[in-house]
């Protein structure tokens, strides 16, 4: 068990370290200029030196992502609940959800800028990409209930409301959590892509703007530093949502249980 755990964490950590060392060595041996490819040590130094600017942008991107994810979660779940309760609602609204999903968010951003401030436009784009996976997964979960359990609830004359609350909602939980994990990753992607498309700048600028800006100024180390922060944000969101999923499902769902060996 402990040996297995060590392997679980140690191996990827070692691989990552080897990669960074190789990178560092390559840059030093070949004497590559930072403007072409900065060494990891240089990127780290830039991260520390520019922390004030970068951290401010990180907070902007993070808050947009989380707000969009929260809105997508509430919206997606509510719409999924509406779909299970009424076929008419599903027929009426599902096409809209699909249209919004299949239209690339980059192409909507300029249009949104006509009506909204750039900050709002980024938020809406991020929301749109995170919304659909949560809606689709939760809908699937709410309708994937064991038919015998539905029979059982009918046998004991459960009201529709109780059937929803005590049967469909818990049955949908693993599906919802899967959708949330996808949505969490997409919300960040949406926030970054939309910001690049919307071209917001100044005080409200997020990490995407920092990347574009660094590109114009040929400040490649800062570009990497901003990229690093985006990657870390994505990992943090994924880890947090996975932990939430494991916590909620650990007692009963196969996905969160260790297989007997």
């Amino acid at each position: 068990m402990s040996r297995e755990r060590a392997q679980d964490y140690l191996l990827p950590a070692l691989a990552l370290l080897a990669f960074l060392l190789g990178w560092e060595a390559l840059v030093r041996i070949k004497d590559i200029q930072p403007v072409i490819l900065p060494a990891p040590s240089r990127i780290f130094a830039t991260l520390v030196a520019d922390w004030g600017t970068l951290f401010g942008s990180l907070l902007v991107t993070l808050s947009i992502t989380l707000e969009a994810l929260a809105a997508a979660t509430i919206g997606g779940v509510l719409m999924a609940l509406a779909f299970t309760q009424s076929r008419i609602a599903e027929r009426v609204f599902f096409p809209f959800a699909v249209i919004l999903q299949v239209t690339p968010v980059v192409s909507i951003a300029p249009l949104l800028l006509v009506y909204l401030t750039s900050g709002q436009a980024v938020l809406v784009c991020s929301f749109l990409v995170a919304f659909f996976p949560i809606l689709a997964n939760t809908s699937l979960g709410l309708s994937s209930v064991d038919h015998n359990l539905l029979d059982l609830f009918q046998l004991y004359r459960a009201s529709r409301w109780r059937q929803l609350l005590w049967l469909r909602v818990p049955a949908a939980l693993p599906y919802f959590l899967g959708g949330l994990r996808i949505g969490g990753g997409l919300a960040l992607i949406g926030a970054i892509v939309a910001e690049i498309a919307a071209g917001s700048a100044g005080k409200g600028a997020g990490l995407a703007f920092r990347i574009v800006e660094s590109g114009y100024r040929l400040n490649i180390p800062r570009m990497f530093a901003a990229l690093f922060l985006i990657a870390m944000t994505g990992i943090a969101i994924y880890v947090a949502l996975s932990a939430l999923s494991t916590l909620l499902l650990r007692r009963w769902h196969d996905s969160a249980r260790k297989r007997e060996t």
């Binding site: 064991d146 059982l152 046998l155 004991y156």
Partner: protein, 271 residues
């Protein structure tokens, strides 16, 4: 609904001293919207306190009878007359059908919870029900942590927790191994005798039906109908001696024969 006794035509079984009738099926038929006739012209009396098995090959409508009795489906022909209004039902499915996210306690609580009984008031009944199926101390376990046989016991405990007048069981032990099945058969008979409940048990095993039942109704498919009725005279509970005795052998033989005829003299042998 109170059934009227003044009815022309011979009722299917009329033994004078037999116990009171719980429910009567008269000319019951079920045709699905796609035109498949699941059941046709079934006349059947179910008496209080008896253990009745419905035996037959797949597609003979035995499960359909349970669904009609439970109200999960409605018949398209005939009448189902209960001798008491709104009888309490218990249903055990072929699979344990437990909620995987809920503990054993909460699973057994469900029928009472749906009747509005709070947890504290239900505690006694739940404990008693779990004791009866031999699962005392497993209240906090989750279904995933239990074996197939134990899950089925939880399912039975859940069906018993409302003290049903009639327990409907749809091939409950079909998916279990022989050893677990034998044990559960014995425990079910003991439980039935203790509670004095009426049991309607669907199976496709001749031996299981003979060992468990006071009466076996043999059914045939296409369309689903009753073709024979066999009584097993030895009273419940029965033991290993019964399994080795002449009554058992004779009942198995006549039941097998009836089943073979039900399948049109087919070669398929039930296990």
């Amino acid at each position: 609904m109170i059934a009227s006794d003044a009815k022309a035509g011979a009722p299917p079984v009329t033994a004078a001293p037999s116990p009171a009738r719980l429910v009567r099926l008269e000319g019951v038929g079920k045709t699905f919207p796609n035109g498949v006739v699941a059941l046709s012209g079934v006349d059947l009396d179910i008496r209080r306190g008896e253990f009745l098995s419905l035996l037959g090959p797949s597609g003979c409508g035995k499960s359909t009878i349970l669904r009609l009795l439970s109200g999960l489906a409605s018949s398209t022909d005939g009448y189902i007359n209960w001798s008491e209004a709104d009888p309490e039902l218990g249903f055990v499915f072929q699979e344990p059908t437990l909620m995987p996210w809920a503990s054993v306690f909460d699973n057994v609580w469900l029928p009472l919870r749906l009747k509005g009984v709070p947890k504290s008031a239900a505690r006694g009944a739940i404990k008693e029900s779990l004791d009866k199926v031999g699962l005392a101390g497993f209240e906090g376990a989750y279904p995933r942590e239990l074996s197939g046989g134990m899950k089925m016991r939880v399912s039975i405990a859940r069906a018993l927790v409302t003290r049903p007048a009639i327990l409907l069981m749809d091939e409950p032990f079909a998916a279990l191994d022989e050893i677990t099945r034998t044990k559960l058969n014995d425990d079910l008979v003991a439980l039935k005798c203790e509670l004095g409940a009426t049991v309607v048990f669907v199976t496709h095993s001749v031996y299981e039906s003979v060992y468990l039942s006071d009466r076996i109704v043999v059914m045939a498919p296409r369309p689903g109908r009753v073709v024979a009725e066999i009584k097993v005279p030895t009273p419940l509970p029965r033991d290993e001696d019964f399994r080795l005795g002449a009554v058992y052998a004779e009942a198995c033989r006549s039941t097998s024969q009836a089943l073979r005829q039900a399948m049109g003299g087919g070669a398929e042998e039930s296990h």
